[in-house]
């Protein structure tokens, strides 16, 4: 399902006292825990939300969150409905042709297969993935049959109800699903590293904004606060580190 125009701004992050400050509208999906999700209070929450809370403060810009559908994000960025994409979007050469990315704030993601049956045929069977993702692109090139869904949880549900033999998604997203399934879900096959890490997507013309955020991200990498956040959200010791 596609939402072409973007939608609701949910909340201004840093108090909007200084109205002269630049307002940066950031788009997120709100359906990709632990990266970003809508918590039970109805507000955006997650690793990326907390990270950009800090980043915007360091960059001295006012940030505003906007939830929009995954599928229409890049077109909406291009037409100027918001200024940045913060939605667990991996940097890929294909996306680079259309938009720019800041330095990565999360290392190259590992994607993994999860299935209900340990012997599931993920290599040539039916594999579900979210549409327009790096994972869907990967499956389309394998011998497996790709089944595309608009949201990641639908892709998981497809395995649960037998539509697909396995789901292929970001292992950080799948981890709680597998851990909490009480043995229903198991990992199958090898985890695969895809892409060049996750960055914030920007219009190619917004070079200044890119420089601002690059600087802020670098400063958080340098003082170790980014690593702390990663540990907080991605399972402590096992969390990827810079």
């Amino acid at each position: 399902m596609k939402k072409l125009i973007l939608t609701t701004a949910i909340l201004a992050l840093t108090g909007g006292a200084a109205s002269a400050q630049q307002v940066v509208r950031l788009a997120t999906e709100g359906a990709y825990p632990p990266f970003n999700f809508i918590n039970d209070a109805g507000e955006p929450d997650g690793f990326e939300i907390e990270l950009f809370d800090t980043l915007c403060e360091r960059a001295e810009v006012t940030c505003e969150w906007v939830t929009t559908d995954w599928d229409g994000m890049i077109p909406n960025l291009q037409s100027g409905n918001f200024d940045g994409i913060v939605a667990g979007m991996s940097i890929t050469p294909e996306r680079r042709e259309a938009i720019d990315f800041t330095a990565s704030y999360y290392p190259a993601i590992t994607s993994a297969y999860a299935a209900m049956d340990p012997d599931a045929d993920f290599a040539t069977g039916v594999v579900s993935a979210q549409v327009n993702t790096i994972q869907a692109g990967h499956i389309a090139e394998t011998d497996a049959t790709l089944l595309e869904y608009t949201t990641p949880d639908e892709a998981v549900a497809a395995v649960r109800n037998g539509e697909a033999d396995a789901v292929f998604a970001d292992s950080d997203y799948l981890k709680p699903v597998v851990d909490e399934s009480g043995g229903e879900f198991v990992w199958v096959g090898e985890a695969i590293a895809l892409g060049e890490g996750i960055g914030m997507g920007l219009r190619k013309s917004d070079t200044e904004l890119k420089a601002t955020f690059d600087e802020a991200i670098d400063s958080m990498k340098a003082d170790g606060s980014l690593n702390e956040l990663l540990q907080k959200w991605f399972g402590g010791e096992e969390a990827p580190q810079f």
């Binding site: 399902m1 077109p75 089944l147 595309e148 539509e163």
Partner: protein, 281 residues
């Protein structure tokens, strides 16, 4: 790739014939026209199967809604109410969620002498599941159109039939049904057109695309997503639909004229209802 090669590679892509991967570069007009046109096969398939089956079920429902026995009438009323009273969009969602609840291994029906094993994994595929929803949906709308037509059959026609000794099934088959069809035809034409348009919802709600085989709108949104430019693919879909709607209108017009061929021309014109409360779904 020349345009001819593109057509060879992607012309039947929506059926899984030709290139396995969708195009990753170029996205020229030829590619877009070919792939979106290929997706159109699914729209035509959904419309054809839903209309053909829906027509038969609608006749039964319309007759059932006039039945004296509440056991027949009530279920027909409810069927029509549920499918006409709720958005098709929601119906697709609910239907998909319900269909996936069927046991994966199939259902075994004990038939006394032997057990019949029915597989169920295919019903969640769009070609079956979405076609089922569209079939029920159009049957409900058409039933209401047919019912209206049945009610407005001139009493004189029926009395004349009785005077000739035509009663029961014969009367229905030879008098009521043809008259109903003739009266309902303009409204039914509209229903057919809008059902055809409704087929574009299939891959936008509930039903997943299997191996990137989708309908015209699915490929249009693929291109819109890749080229970040909605101004080419969506008008292409619109162009295809305008053409096919014209073909549909022409075909139905021909049938309509055939249904009315025994009437003097001014009679035809008088009989054709001018306001059609059913004109749109």
């Amino acid at each position: 790739m020349s345009c001819f090669e593109t057509i060879q590679a992607y012309g039947l892509r929506s059926l899984g014939i030709g290139e396995r991967l969708l195009p990753r570069e170029g996205y020229d007009l030829c590619q877009q026209f070919t792939l979106i046109g290929s997706g159109l096969i699914w729209n035509v398939y959904f419309a054809a199967i839903a209309l053909a089956l829906g027509f038969a079920l609608a006749t039964l429902l319309a007759v059932g809604k006039r039945a004296r026995s509440a056991w027949i009438r009530k279920p027909c009323d409810w069927f029509v109410f549920i499918f006409r009273g709720s958005p098709l969009f929601i119906q697709f969602f609910v239907a998909y969620q319900l269909l996936v609840l069927l046991p994966r291994d199939g259902v075994t029906l004990p038939l006394g002498l032997f057990d019949l094993h029915v597989g169920t994994d295919w019903v969640t595929r769009a070609w079956a599941g979405a076609a089922l929803v569209l079939f029920f949906n159009t049957a409900a709308y058409t039933a209401e159109i047919f019912l209206g037509a049945l009610r407005s059959i001139p009493r004189g026609d029926l009395e004349a039939a009785e005077a000739y000794g035509i009663t029961g099934w014969q009367r229905f088959r030879r008098i009521q049904w043809p008259t109903m069809l003739r009266l309902a035809w303009p409204a039914y034409t509209n229903e057919a057109i809008f059902l055809f348009h409704a087929t574009t919802l299939v891959f936008f709600s509930g039903f997943p695309a299997f191996q990137q085989r989708g309908d015209a709108l699915y490929y249009a949104s693929y291109f819109a997503g890749r080229t970040f430019n909605p101004f080419v693919p969506y008008p292409i879909v619109a162009f295809y639909f305008i053409c096919l709607t014209l073909v549909l209108t022409w075909t139905f017009g021909r049938i309509g004229r055939r249904l009315n061929r025994h009437l003097p021309t001014n009679e035809t014109r008088r009989r054709r209802p001018r306001i059609l409360p059913q004109i749109i779904r």
